[in-house]
Each structure stands twice: as structure tokens, then as C-alpha cells.
């Protein structure tokens, strides 16, 4: 592996890690509050990509407005999941998880019937050209993901640490009963968590729409990776999710470069199995799931 390939892979890994972080943070957030495990997180990601497809490719709005619009639209889908599935099955993680598997079927069919299954929806690349430094080239479109992730995750950190509602969310994640005793409404917190969770998945999908093929089934791979990331990081830990996202990003990029993508997936999955066996709480987690 030459020095240029190394730097190139390093840059690619940063981009991939950022997108994994964006998707996985929402999953960790939702799991932290009342253990909402969302199987359909990948379909929320897919919904974000379709928002960009509709608003940017079909309607013709500027790309960044489409991406910003993806946040509330997909977040409302997340809220819908909370009301229809997670609230009635509260206290039973597996039931909620399996029911959202049904929700992912429903979303795939609806999107496939509306915009077609087979043909990939092409979203034109809004930021053409590539940035060159140290002899490696990364397209602007991919590079834009890194600052977007920093803004989003930084904003979430600010929200959780400084804003009252965010503090309530953390309190709810740490000890639900104590939070209820302080007058925090669990129902409001679960809605808020799923709102943020959906929004993050939506923005992730929106940013990836010009880069990967937009199909009703595009979310599956990202959801699987996001689950691996969240398990490795510790189910309810947001810091753990970010750390594990970059670890997985590096593993996937470097193993793909050295061998092939199938091996990369195998190594990622095996890494998660090892973490679960050695430290079932995950790298930075405290709760045993």
C-alpha cells in the first residue's frame, strides 16, 4: 500500500465514518430513551434520499434546501413510528423491533409503487469537481458530508448538554423512573427522541442521495451497519456510536481497499461479535442490553 493510497483511504474512511455516525447517532438516541430499537431506520434513511430526489431532481429546489427539508419530513415519519409502534409495545424491545420490520416492508412497497422499483432514480451531482490535497482527490460531494456531520452531531451535543429539553432527554435515558419523578413526560421524550432519530437518518440519506443509487432497498445496508456501530459503541451511548462509526468506517474502507467489500463486511460483523462477547455493554456503554 503506497503512501498515496494510504492517504486516499484515510480520506475515504473519514467520509464513510461520518455518514455512519450520522445514521447511527439517531439509532443510539432512540434506543437510549425507553429502548426503542428501530429496524426501519434504514427506511428512514431511504426516505431522506427520496426527499432529495423529489425536491431537488423533480421540483428543482437547491440541493441544500432539499437536504434541510429532509430533516423535518423524515422526523415526522419517526414520530409516526413512535405513536403507532413504539408506544403500544413499550417495555418489549423485541416486539417493537420486529414490528418496525413490518414498517420497513410497508415503506419499501409504498415508495416502490410510487416511484418504481427496478430503475435507479438518478440524482444529479450538485457539487461537481473534487478537492485535491497531498496528491489525493476527494469529490466535493463526498467531502461535504464531513462538515455536515460535524454541524449535526455538534448541534445534537449542544442540545443534549445545554438545552433544557435535551437535558430532560438525557435524564430519561439515564433513569426513567427518576426522570418521571422530576416531572418529565416520558411520552414527550420518546416523541422527541424519535423526531431527532428520524431527522438524522433523513439528513444522512439526503446527503448520500447523489452518491449512491436511490432505490427503495438502499437503506438496508446502512441500517445493518448502523446497528453494528451502535452495538459496538454501546447501545445507548451517543459518544460510543460516533467512536464506533469511525472505527467501522476505517475497517470497511481499509479492508475493502486491501481485499474486497465482502471481506470488509465479514470483518465488521466479526468485530461486533467479538466486542459483544468480550464486553457485552459495548465500548463506551454502561447498560447491558
Amino acid at each position: 500500500m503506497g503512501i498515496e493510497t494510504l492517504i486516499q483511504s484515510f480520506a475515504n474512511a473519514l467520509v464513510l465514518g461520518s455518514i455512519y455516525a450520522m445514521v447511527a447517532v439517531g439509532l443510539a438516541l432512540a434506543f437510549g430513551v425507553m429502548q426503542m430499537a428501530n429496524f426501519a431506520h434504514g427506511e428512514l434513511f431511504m426516505a431522506g434520499a427520496y426527499v432529495v430526489y423529489v425536491l431537488y431532481s423533480l421540483v428543482g429546489l437547491p440541493f441544500f434546501i432539499a437536504v434541510i427539508a429532509a430533516f423535518p419530513i423524515v422526523a415526522m415519519l419517526g414520530v409516526l413510528f413512535e405513536r403507532a409502534i413504539f408506544r403500544p409495545t413499550r417495555g418489549n424491545v423485541l416486539a417493537g423491533f420486529m414490528a418496525t420490520a413490518g414498517a420497513s416492508f410497508i415503506m419499501q412497497v409504498l415508495v416502490g409503487q410510487q416511484w418504481g422499483v427496478g430503475l435507479m432514480r438518478s440524482v444529479p451531482v450538485p457539487y461537481k469537481g473534487s478537492a485535491e490535497f497531498l496528491g489525493v482527490a476527494v469529490s466535493w460531494q463526498r467531502l461535504a458530508i464531513i462538515p455536515a456531520t460535524i454541524i449535526m452531531v455538534g448541534g445534537l451535543w449542544f442540545f443534549l448538554k445545554k438545552i433544557k429539553a435535551g437535558k430532560a432527554l438525557r435524564a430519561c435515558a439515564q433513569d426513567t423512573e427518576a426522570a418521571v419523578l422530576q416531572g418529565i413526560s416520558i411520552n414527550k421524550m420518546t416523541v422527541l427522541a424519535m423526531f431527532l432519530s428520524g431527522g438524522f437518518a433523513g439528513v444522512g440519506g439526503a446527503l448520500m442521495a447523489p452518491i449512491i443509487p436511490v432505490t427503495p432497498y438502499m437503506g438496508h445496508v446502512y441500517a445493518v451497519t448502523a446497528f453494528i456501530v451502535v452495538i459496538v459503541g454501546g447501545m445507548a451511548s451517543i459518544e460510543g456510536a460516533v467512536l464506533a462509526a469511525f472505527i467501522l468506517g476505517f475497517i470497511h474502507t481499509f479492508v475493502s481497499t486491501l481485499y474486497d467489500s465482502v471481506t470488509a463486511t465479514m470483518v465488521g460483523v466479526l468485530f461486533m461479535a467479538v466486542v459483544l462477547i468480550v464486553k457485552p455493554t459495548g465500548l463506551l456503554g454502561h447498560v447491558k442490553v
Partner: protein
């Protein structure tokens, strides 16, 4: 309730004998295409019942389909590459599946609940990617094709049976299904079966009265794996070619739908689930592209509004009416 000597009531024997009469006459009354569907249905019964056994300890896995795939791949490779006849290949394939199940179960027994669910999925995906990656025995993405057909004896022998004939294969599968169901029923009622259910109820209490919980959970995984391996082996002989796409996540979700719709509390729940969902599956054949939506709705409705599945409908109605009339008597 009328009890016969075997402990089953007449209410049990009547529908069961009706089902047996139908299954025995099926080759005469349904078309060849329907007969193949019926054969696949019988294999699904084995799969769903073995999965239901797995869930008696409260451990829902996401890799049961992969275990079936292990059985199918083992059968395919043993029969094709080594020319081993079916009466050796099937038990060997089932034992290989038990071995893989054991390798899965040992690390998985350290986890519980949701982590168990996800970790089993990860290990299953690992195995599926092994099939995709290694071309030499597993054939990569194209899988194993041209698995030799099942037959007893050479053509010309008086005992020669050619299972390429759908009717013969159907009866072969039917015999297997009945035997497997009887064995699974006995396991469910046995001492170890009760121990597994007790683990679901309270694993700490089980440990305190001397049940080795980790060992029991590994054991149930291996037993369920054995029957999944048999189902996979039958599937491999039936369709003659297997590839990694046969064992994707979607199929696993359908398996979960059968078991969830039927319920897992009693032995018959999973059976009811497979029967009813297979009927829905066949009836919605004209609406093929809308089918996942329908099954998604069914899954959500059953998990959210009817936890316990179809098997709890009759007890629910009973308790409803008892409540109704009980109140009247008091007033």
C-alpha cells in the same frame, strides 16, 4: 372433555385426521404445481416448529434461516462433490448444522434479549458472506447448482423409487414432517423442554434449583439447528440449486411473521401461524408487489394489538364470555 387413551381429546383427533386424509389424498386432488407448493409448505412447517422450539427459552434469533442454509449447503456439497447418497447426506448435513449451531450458541449464550437477537443476526450474516466469498466449495453468488436428485436404489431395482416424481417427494417430505413434529412434540413435553420454558419464565430461579442455564440455552440452539438442517436438506433436494440470496433477511422476517401470528406459548401456535400465513401468501399471489405491505401490516397488528398470536383467540373469547355472564349472575 372426552379423552382418548393417548391423552388427546376427540376435539384434537377429528381435525387432525381430517388434515391427514387431505394430505394423503393431496396428490390426487391438486395440480402438480400446487403439490410442489404443498411440499414447500411442509418444509416450512418443520422450520417454523424448530424455530418455535428455539423461542421457548425466550431467545429469539435472527439466524434460523441461515442454519437452514447451512443444512442446504452441506447437503448440496456432500451430494454433488462427494456423491454421497441421501440417507447419508441428510443426517451428515443435519449434524454439520448442529456443529455450526454450537459454534454460534457458545458466544451467543453470553448475551440475552435484544443483544442476543442482533448478535445472532451478525453471526448469520457472517456465514452468508462466507458463502458469497468462497467460490471453491460454496460457488459464490451463484451458489451450488445441479444437486443430484434423490433416489432409492438404481433404476431397474424392484425397490427403486425416483423422488424426481413430485408425488414421491411429497410423501417423502410428509413422512419427515410427521416424524419431526412427533419428536418436537415429545421434546416440548419432556423434562428438558420444561426446563427451557422455565428459563423463559425466570432464569435466575432456574439456576438456583440446579438447571445449567447456559448449557440448556446452547442445547436448545443445537436441537433447533438440527431440525433446521433437516428442513434445509429437504429444500436442497427439492429445488436442486441453492444460492446465498435464498437465505436473506427478508425470508427470516417471514419466518418470524409465521411464528408471531401463530403464537409460541403452545405447540400448535406456530403450526396455525404457518398454515394461515401460507394461505394468505397463496391467496395474494395476484397482488404480488403489494404482498410485503400486507405482511408488514399483519406483523404490526399482531405484535401491537394481539400479542400472543392466533392461539390466544379462543381463550380470549372464553374469558370474555365468562366475564360477561359472570357479572350477570352476580347482579
Amino acid at each position: 372433555m372426552l379423552k382418548s387413551s393417548s391423552g388427546f381429546s376427540i376435539q384434537f383427533w377429528l381435525p387432525v385426521s381430517a388434515i391427514f386424509v387431505f394430505l394423503g389424498m393431496a396428490p390426487q386432488i391438486v395440480s402438480a404445481y400446487r403439490l410442489e407448493l404443498l411440499t414447500i409448505f411442509l418444509i416450512n412447517v418443520i422450520l417454523a416448529q424448530s424455530y418455535r422450539l428455539m423461542t421457548t427459552t425466550g431467545d429469539w434469533t435472527l439466524c434460523h434461516y441461515i442454519l437452514m442454509g447451512v443444512g442446504a449447503y452441506a447437503t448440496g456439497i456432500l451430494a454433488k462433490k462427494f456423491g454421497i447418497p441421501f440417507y447419508m447426506a441428510m443426517p451428515l448435513a443435519a449434524m454439520i448444522t448442529v456443529g455450526v449451531s454450537f459454534l454460534f450458541a457458545v458466544p451467543l449464550s453470553r448475551t440475552i434479549g435484544f443483544a442476543f437477537f442482533i448478535a445472532s443476526f451478525a453471526l448469520g450474516e457472517f456465514v452468508r458472506h462466507v458463502w458469497l466469498k468462497f467460490h471453491n466449495p460454496f460457488g459464490g453468488a451463484r451458489g451450488v447448482n445441479g444437486i443430484p436428485k434423490l433416489e432409492i436404489g438404481q433404476s431397474g431395482d424392484w425397490y427403486f423409487i425416483d423422488f424426481w416424481e413430485p408425488t414421491n417427494f411429497y410423501f417423502f417430505t410428509l413422512i419427515f414432517t410427521v416424524v419431526v413434529l412427533v419428536i418436537l412434540y415429545r421434546i416440548d413435553r419432556s423434562r428438558i423442554g420444561n426446563a427451557w420454558k422455565a428459563i423463559y419464565a425466570d432464569s435466575e430461579l432456574c439456576e438456583s434449583i440446579g438447571i445449567n442455564v447456559a448449557r440448556a440455552r446452547i442445547m436448545v440452539f443445537c436441537v433447533a439447528g438440527f431440525f433446521a438442517g433437516i428442513a434445509g436438506s429437504l429444500m436442497a433436494y427439492l429445488i436442486g440449486s441453492i444460492d446465498p440470496h435464498n437465505f436473506e433477511m427478508v425470508e427470516m422476517v417471514y419466518l418470524i411473521i409465521w411464528v408471531v401470528v401463530g403464537g409460541v406459548k403452545t405447540f400448535w401456535g406456530a403450526l396455525i401461524g404457518v398454515i394461515s400465513m401460507s394461505l394468505v401468501f397463496e391467496l395474494t399471489r395476484p397482488l404480488e408487489e403489494w404482498r410485503p405491505l400486507l405482511f408488514g401490516v399483519i406483523l404490526i397488528v399482531f405484535l401491537v394489538y394481539m400479542p400472543g398470536g392466533l392461539e390466544t383467540i379462543i381463550p380470549r373469547f372464553k374469558s370474555f364470555f365468562v366475564d360477561l355472564f359472570g357479572k350477570k349472575e352476580i347482579s
